[in-house]
């Protein structure tokens, strides 16, 4: 119980890392799935989680993580009922800008690299509502009225690069320089999954979505089984967008959330965690 298991939440800005973390904490307290992980108690300092929870419980978007120190740990105590194992999970809740900076500035904090060596698994977040590619120019764009066209093309900047390109690079940095265990377990979390399909009529498999929409990332993971093992999830950690807020608040917070694991819909947001820890 006392050896902490370290996890990493990796994702570019606005990919739902904090929202999932907050929802995961709530589900741990109020688990309804008999196979799911449950809370093993409260950690000493929960102020960060509690602060973010206020908005989330009200059905609102959780405020983006302000740039935090990489040493600031958020801690969850979890228990696996089946094996009666308890673990202390720690994860620095790092802002998406921290990762965007790695891509653009081509350097990382040595402390981050050192920490990677002890990481047991990584949650990799992408946003279902955001394209992995920078879309190619279309006729519709070219036919915009003259006044609506920009006068001058924007020069390429690293920060404007395609998101899947950035994410692949971040994983390349980890595999080449991170001295992590190999293969490293990655739970690919496609957030805002409610944008893709409704909980009541699920049709799309997250793996297929990744293959079609974030193909470069999908190929990279498939082509490197020696470096990474991965599983892909769709997650709605808020339950819906701003337009759905009125409906959302009719339900208890832990009832709003849902997760898509291959073809299966579940309320158990701890499932990716179980998979990362080999607690299935």
């Amino acid at each position: 119980m006392n050896t902490p298991i370290e996890l990493l939440f990796l994702g570019l800005p606005e990919t739902g890392k904090t929202t999932y973390f907050v929802a995961l904490d709530e589900v741990l307290q109020r688990q309804t799935d008999k196979h799911g992980l449950v809370s093993g108690g409260f950690s000493a300092n929960r102020s960060y989680i509690e602060k973010a929870k206020k908005a989330w419980r009200a059905g609102k978007a959780v405020e983006r993580t302000s740039l935090m120190t990489t040493d600031e740990q958020v801690e969850l105590l979890v228990r696996h009922s089946k094996s009666n194992t308890t673990a202390r999970l720690t994860a620095p809740d790092v802002s998406g800008e921290f990762f965007d900076d790695q891509w653009a500035d081509r350097k990382w904090a040595i402390s981050y690299r050192t920490r990677l060596a002890s990481v047991a698994g990584v949650f990799v977040f992408i946003n279902a509502a955001v394209s992995g590619r920078n879309p190619e120019m279309t006729e519709a764009w070219k036919n915009l009225p003259q006044g609506e066209m920009p006068t001058k093309p924007n020069p390429w900047t690293a920060r404007a690069a395609a998101k899947q390109v950035k994410l692949v690079e971040l994983l390349q940095f980890i595999s080449e320089r991170g001295q992590t265990r190999q293969p490293l377990s990655l739970a690919i979390m496609i957030s805002a999954w409610d944008v893709i399909e409704s909980e009541k009529s699920p049709k799309v498999r997250p793996g297929k979505f990744l293959e079609d929409e974030w193909s470069l990332l999908h190929q990279y993971l498939q082509a490197n089984p020696e470096l990474f093992r991965s599983r892909i999830y769709g997650v709605s950690a808020r339950g819906g967008d701003d337009a759905a807020q009125t409906k959302l608040v009719q339900l208890s917070p832990h009832e709003r959330v849902w997760l898509k694991d291959d073809a299966e819909v579940t309320k158990d947001l701890t499932r990716p965690l179980r998979w990362l820890l080999d607690w299935d």
Partner: protein, 341 residues
């Protein structure tokens, strides 16, 4: 990019070495500390990592130098592809399309497995994206300072049956291409040619429609082959490709004079050079055609399939190669291995 420490050297401006010692000029300063990909003024969030002020550099994501490329060649199975042609003949656009294809799907039965030059690949397509905001899709020309630099791609067969393979892709800047025809010294400076498994030469389809101005680029392409054969940089160990780019600009009616000229050019190219190379292939592609024509992705997949599938490098030194170039093969074909890396 490496920089030259000599004040009188034009290397920083146009990639030429005043002492003619490229790519191993001892006056070049490495770019490890430089941060070439970061273009924006946004500061690193140092203030947010109060307890860990120490940073370490990661690789730049920019094109690889010949030395870096050689390190890959020495450590893994790899193919070297060199693209050449006049300015705006479609070399970079083909590469941009190839990466766009990988961003959407696997290509020629192979998955993207890694790249040391992802930032460069992303940059290739930038002027054809809506994010760029340009009125028309374009591809930025390869600057002459990018001569003897390489894009890197690692791929793996979809079924995972074979190990990963690396590709190093060099793009001879359009300004340098005719200079290499004119001056042997410039041609010999194209260090990638010696190790190229594939040499891909481009003719702009749009230019071929211009009866008066099409002869010079055709002549330049042939002359380039003659020049590089003469220097012994290419030969039976090389697979030669002729790509007619922007083929959407060619007339579609059979029997048209332009099409007849294109066919004649392809045939002449084959007649002149087939016997000098491992094999020779002619292609017609439209990597970024005008709407509503679709890009010729099937054709580009086939070209890529050949790049990763065929090599004549292990066939031994060509009998036609001059004696002076008969040094050990493969890794040293950039002419670097006799010097410590």
């Amino acid at each position: 990019m490496p920089r030259c420490k000599l004040k009188n050297c034009p290397y920083d401006k146009d990639g030429r070495c005043v002492e003619n010692q490229l790519p191993n000029c001892p006056n070049l300063l490495p770019d490890e500390i430089e941060n070439p990909v970061a273009q924006e003024a946004k500061p690193l969030a140092t203030e947010t990592i109060r307890t860990s002020p120490q940073y370490e550099a990661l690789y730049s994501g920019k094109k690889l130098t010949a030395v870096e490329a050689t390190q890959i060649l020495q450590s893994r199975p790899a193919q070297v592809v060199v693209l050449g042609g006049m300015v705006e003949s479609g070399k970079t656009t083909l590469l941009a399309r190839l990466f766009e294809m990988f961003q959407s799907k696997h290509v020629a039965g192979h998955r993207f497995a890694a790249s040391r030059t992802l930032a460069e690949f992303d940059k290739l397509s930038w002027h054809a994206t809506m994010e760029c905001g340009a009125p028309d899709p374009k591809t930025e020309r390869t600057d002459r300072s990018e001569n003897n630099l390489f894009l890197h791609l690692r791929i793996r067969a979809e079924d995972g049956s074979v190990p990963t393979m690396d590709l190093l892709i060099g793009d001879i800047p359009g300004e340098i291409f005719p200079e290499a025809v004119a001056e042997e010294r410039v041609c010999l400076d194209l260090c990638a040619l010696r190790r190229a498994d594939h040499l891909v030469l481009f003719l702009d389809g749009e230019v071929l429609c211009d009866a008066a101005n099409r002869h010079d680029p055709c002549g330049k392409v042939s002359d380039f082959v003659f020049r590089a054969l003469q220097t012994g940089q290419i030969g039976r160990h090389t697979i030669l490709h002729l790509v007619i780019s922007k083929c959407d600009k060619l007339p579609s009616d059979a029997g048209n004079e332009v099409l007849a000229f294109v066919e004649k050019t392809e045939k002449l190219f084959q007649t002149q050079f087939t016997n000098h190379f491992g094999s020779l292939h002619c292609w017609r592609v439209a990597a970024r055609p005008v709407h509503p024509v679709e890009p010729t992705v099937a054709e580009i997949s086939k070209i890529f399939g050949l790049w990763i599938g065929n090599s004549h490098q292990s066939a031994g030194t060509s009998a036609q190669m001059p004696q002076r170039l008969d040094f050990s093969r493969d890794f040293c074909r950039f002419g670097l291995s006799h010097k410590p890396l």
